[in-house]
Symmetry: D2
Subunit: 185 residues, 4 copies
């Protein structure tokens, strides 16, 4: 079963240098620890981990430069907690959705992945719109609410409600659900 | 200015035969009159009108069959109020977003359209996700709140908030704003 | 096995009104009979038949209008020989490739199709570029040389060579091969 | 004028480790010097240079790793002659076309580029199919024949003929044409 589920980590390598970045950082700090331990657990189960991350204006498709650049911003401590491991995949995206202008769909197809666990920030932007793009491509989804955050708590809740209602997707936290049950049928 | 703005009408040719369709129909009925008169106004100004509509399981790309089929459902009265005119464009879409698996982007490029007024249903599904796909393609957007509806009023409001906050898009009603001001810079 | 193979018929509903259209028509006339009988054979085997056809400047997604319009051109006799049957799918495409700006990929996925038999015109334009788009999406392909034609015989041969060499795809004629063997592994 | 034209360099960072790689290498060696001096000339004129390059099975979007990996192959001398400069853009592609699963179109739009000079290898695979994808997206094209190569000379000529005839694109060599004239209307 491991083979057809992947953990997607969205925009956690983040400069947090935009308008509202401080609020997003505050809401991300308590979440990153959940994500960190959830990532470790998924790695132990042999699931592929795929970072899908904004290019922050760099167009050289160079992960190490991107991480270096982002570390200069106020999100440095978050970045250090959730750095990609050598075996993780890393897809650079130029826009909100992880599927738009990226090789994500091709990689997932090559890996035989059908089920996606979407995590990261911001819940009401890149996570939400990546979720819909995944839904339209007929992936099964789980967006655990304890592994996402947005600039405003209310915005995050709104997005999670839309994910539940419009995409028929569970937002149960990782403490309450296991991916084996979520994706079981 | 007319030449670079288009009115998009999403999923109004609708069977309303799915779970929750009755609620959506109730919320659409008061809205369709706003949309009807707004459409007439835009036509007078020479703006292209583009229907972007679910295929409802038909894969023959045949608008007249699609309309006939949808009229069999409970949405018939709504359909009759907002039927496409002969000069309107009609794009059939298979999924939530009007840009996914359709020729919408190509048609807009050919028409020289840069600004989109998005209307129709459901606000928290196809309108929201079409809006993001348009935003990622760098169209300027307006989603007038009096020309959209969703199954639940709360869902509609959530979606409009996300459109405002995550896509930096006005949701001012057509009674308060004119497209010339919205798209002026 | 029928369920995962489809017959694709490209641009046969054709005005033939462009520069070079007469030459294309001359080369299409002997081919359309091959295609006609091959289509019947595939229908008997239960394979889905999918027309993928240029919009010829119509943007209403309306097959019957498109056929009426094309019949006004010099390709009328060809069109009459290969008209879509009621059970055939019909996808309108705005550009060279059948996958660009269309719901083809989504329909194929829904039908569970993995193998495509590509036929139609022109061999060195829409058939060639649809073939590559199918190859990139990891469909298995067969482009039988007796069911395609181009404006110049030399152009058709060039395209078939590229299809063989760059896309690792058989161009064996329908008289020599059966789809069961082509797609057997 | 410089601002709306870009030089695209396809798959020159190449392991040449596949079947036929030696032939491709032989045909690329005489061409890389043309490309090298043409690149310098374009840089002097201020044109953006964009490498669009196969990922060779790496999915970490990391240019430096990709170059290191490719240098291990027999294409090393070619790579060393045409290494990207610091100001060059670098887009990693997973399939034949430079537009499929990449941010190329988004980058070009952001740079305001309308005209593409396509160079690199192989002429009858990635150059040909990138050319068609660019044509469908309505870029103006030039594919100078002295800056492309394929495994077989005949395959290269076939592809160039199709580029000329099906995409209405000049293949005049850089010694005979200037981009200002090619793209002038």
């Amino acid at each position: 079963m491991e083979n057809d589920t992947a953990l997607i980590i969205i925009d956690m390598i983040n400069k947090m240098d935009f308008n509202g970045g401080e609020d997003l950082l505050e809401n991300t700090k308590p979440m990153v620890e959940n994500l960190q331990s959830f990532k470790k657990e998924m790695q132990k189960e042999g699931l592929p981990v795929i970072y899908v991350n904004d290019n922050f204006g760099l167009w050289q498709d160079n992960v190490s430069d991107l991480i270096d650049e982002c570390r200069k911003g106020q999100g440095e401590s978050v970045i250090n907690q959730i750095l990609p491991d050598e075996d993780d995949y890393f897809i650079i995206k130029p826009k909100h959705s992880g599927f738009f202008g990226t090789q994500l769909d091709i990689l997932l197809n090559q890996l035989g992945v059908k089920n996606l666990i979407l995590t990261g920030i911001a819940g009401d932007i890149c996570v939400l719109f990546t979720a819909n793009d995944a839904y339209m491509r007929e992936y099964n989804l789980w967006v655990p609410e304890d592994c996402t955050a947005s600039e405003k708590a209310e915005g995050n809740e709104n997005a999670l409600k839309i994910i539940e209602r419009s995409l028929f997707t569970s937002t149960a936290p990782t403490t309450e659900e296991r991916y084996q049950s979520i994706f079981e049928d």
